[in-house]
Amino acid sequence: MSEIKFDDNSLALVQSIIKRYPEGKQKSALLPLLHLAQAEFDGWLSVPAMDYVASLLSIKPIEVYEVASFYSMFNLKPVGKCLIEVCRTSSCWLRGANEIVDHIGNKLGIKPGETTADGKFTLKTVECLGSCGTAPMLQIGDKFHEDLTFDKVDSLLDEWSNKTEHSKYLDVNTFRKN
């Protein structure tokens, strides 16, 4: 577990994000800050991580918990290094999303919602990611993998088996510093 504290670079970004909103409305920075915290603290939001974000915004911890638990991109439990999110709503289902989920599940020996014993992969099924014209698809970090075939899925799993870093939606350079 990393230490729950942003480095100077991230703290500068936090200040820059807070300045995007009128004075006294710093709570608006909550979603971006929770994203940043999740990216920097092992891919999930522990209670200490949420308390830390609350302290940065001078709001009560409960104001953070109630928000973190509402949005599906925030993980309130640890996830594998590689979080695989497979879309399965209508258009993806029409083009074989269930088969993609089964294929990944069989390869990794886990069901949707589970993490492999070595902590490498978590398989999650999600609802429409706006990739209906390039279905079936899955998301890992900020990358969309589209027009999937079993071969494409296999090479993605191989690629991620060899990585040591966490999949992330963003990093400290995603947002511009204003």
Binding site: F70, E127, G133, T174
Partner: protein, 447 residues
């Protein structure tokens, strides 16, 4: 070839950069608006254009703008709704990814018209790679003096920021979006007051969809009358259609409103016909929320006229035999598709996405998913089909926001038009396996 406005330059190499975008006339509406037009004159042109909200509701944009309260000394906001999450819809993503400056130009010109000095683009969190693209484009626009203080040497100033959502369909509802932008759960607000009176931070606020704002530069440049001359009747201009499902050419198409549905599905300019030479079974024409129609009714109205791609023609016949243009999320299903199983994916979606604030939606969407799960797996009864009908009828119209209606309509329309299929699932559970893997047409092992 159909008229192209939004996608006219989409294939120009480098159009995502400020230089190339400007070389194609980009940002000329900012120049024209800020230097030669009054705020009211711009609102008037948008009214004349007949432009209607492209997120799904189709409300006239100029009228929405004219509702904006302007109390002295109170900030006003323009917020772009880029929380594109309606299943079957991927057009805003396409615009922002391929031609980000078009949205930024639309935001600047529109913010000026509304008197907003700070504006936000609220993008669904799953689109983080697009947030990166927008942030770069905004940075370049600041450096070119198109954003920030005294834009193009005028006394107008504007700050534009991107906000990331975090996975919640409900935040596409404008008051839920504003709650989310304030750092809260995305629970829709009770209206009135509407955002135009009390929106972001209780200040007057206009919330518009990406595609709506992207149409504003062309209206300012060419005039409202010019725009109103494109399209058909009250469906003026062009519309982006996200085409998906069992078709040969899925993708985003810009159509002039008024072309026939038949042409859109079968012509090579658009969907290119049904995949693998199959027959058309059904279409969801405007995103998951709108009523599903069987092949005969999507191609022809109940009066026997060819159905057109327009707000009015798609709605012809009401819900008895028509549907809605909605977001333009056009999902095509071939003859092998199970309507029951497709509906199950929608019901699961709405249950997952209900914010939980209103009981009819919170409880009803859960029940609908459970009952459909039971029916699709061959354990349903005829009474379950009636119960499903009963539940959807009690959600519709009984919730704070339209998510309840959006969850009810797909269920009601599937039962209305395909009741025999539900009954077949109940009476002949052993036949289900035969229809279950129609979608395996798409051979994933070799595709």
């Amino acid at each position: 070839m159909s008229k192209k406005i939004l996608l006219e330059h989409i294939n120009v190499p480098g159009i995502e950069t400020l230089e190339v975008y400007r070389s194609k006339g980009g940002y000329s509406s900012v120049e024209k608006a800020l230097k030669t037009m009054t705020q009211d004159a711009i609102v008037e042109e948008v009214k004349k254009s007949g432009l209607r909200g492209r997120g799904g509701a189709g409300f006239p944009t100029g009228m929405k703008w004219s509702f904006l309260a302007k109390p002295e000394g109170v900030a006003r906001y323009l917020v772009c709704n880029a929380d594109e999450s309606e299943p079957g819809t991927f057009k805003d993503r396409y615009l922002m990814e391929k031609i980000p400056h078009l949205l930024i130009e639309g935001m600047i010109t529109s913010s000026f018209a509304l008197g907003a000095n700070t504006s936000y683009i609220y993008v669904r969190g799953e689109y983080f790679y697009i947030i990166k693209i927008l942030e770069k484009a905004i940075d370049d626009a600041y450096k070119a003096g198109l954003l920030g203080k005294n834009i193009l040497g005028t006394d107008y100033s504007l700050d534009l920021h991107v906000q990331a959502g975090a996975g919640a369909y409900i935040c596409g509802e404008e008051t839920a979006l504003l709650e989310s932008l304030e750092g809260k759960r995305g629970n829709p607000r009770i209206k009135p007051p509407f955002p135009a009176i009390a929106g972001l931070y209780a200040c007057p606020t206009i919330v518009n969809n990406v595609e709506t704002l992207a149409a504003v530069p062309s209206i300012v440049n060419n005039g409202g009358e010019w725009y109103a001359g494109i399209g058909i009747g009250r469906s003026t201009g062009t519309k982006l259609i996200s085409a998906s499902g069992h078709i040969n050419k899925p993708g985003v198409y810009e159509i002039e409103m008024g072309i026939t549905v038949e042409d859109f599905i079968y012509s090579d300019e658009y969907c290119g016909g049904i995949k693998n030479g199959k027959k058309l079974k059904a279409v969801v024409a405007g995103g998951s929320s709108v009523p599903i129609l069987p092949a005969d009714l999507i191609l022809t109205t109940a009066n026997g006229e060819k159905r057109l791609m327009s707000y009015e023609s798609l709605a012809d016949g009401g819900f008895a035999s028509g549907t809605m243009l909605g977001s333009g999320g056009f999902i095509v299903m071939d003859e092998t598709t199970s309507i029951v199983e497709n509906l199950y994916t929608f019901a699961r979606f709405y249950h997952h996405e209900s914010c939980g604030q209103c009981s009819p939606c919170r409880e009803g969407t859960a029940w609908m998913e459970k009952i459909l799960h039971k029916i699709k797996d061959g354990h349903g009864t005829l009474a379950d089909v009636d119960l499903l009908w009963e539940i959807q009828s009690k959600i519709e119209g009984n919730t704070i926001c339209p998510l309840g209606d959006a969850a009810a309509w797909p269920v009601a329309s599937a039962i209305r038009h395909f009741k025999a299929e539900f009954e077949d699932y109940v009476k002949n559970p052993s036949s289900i396996s035969k229809v279950k893997h129609y979608h395996n047409m798409n051979n994933l092992a070799t595709a």
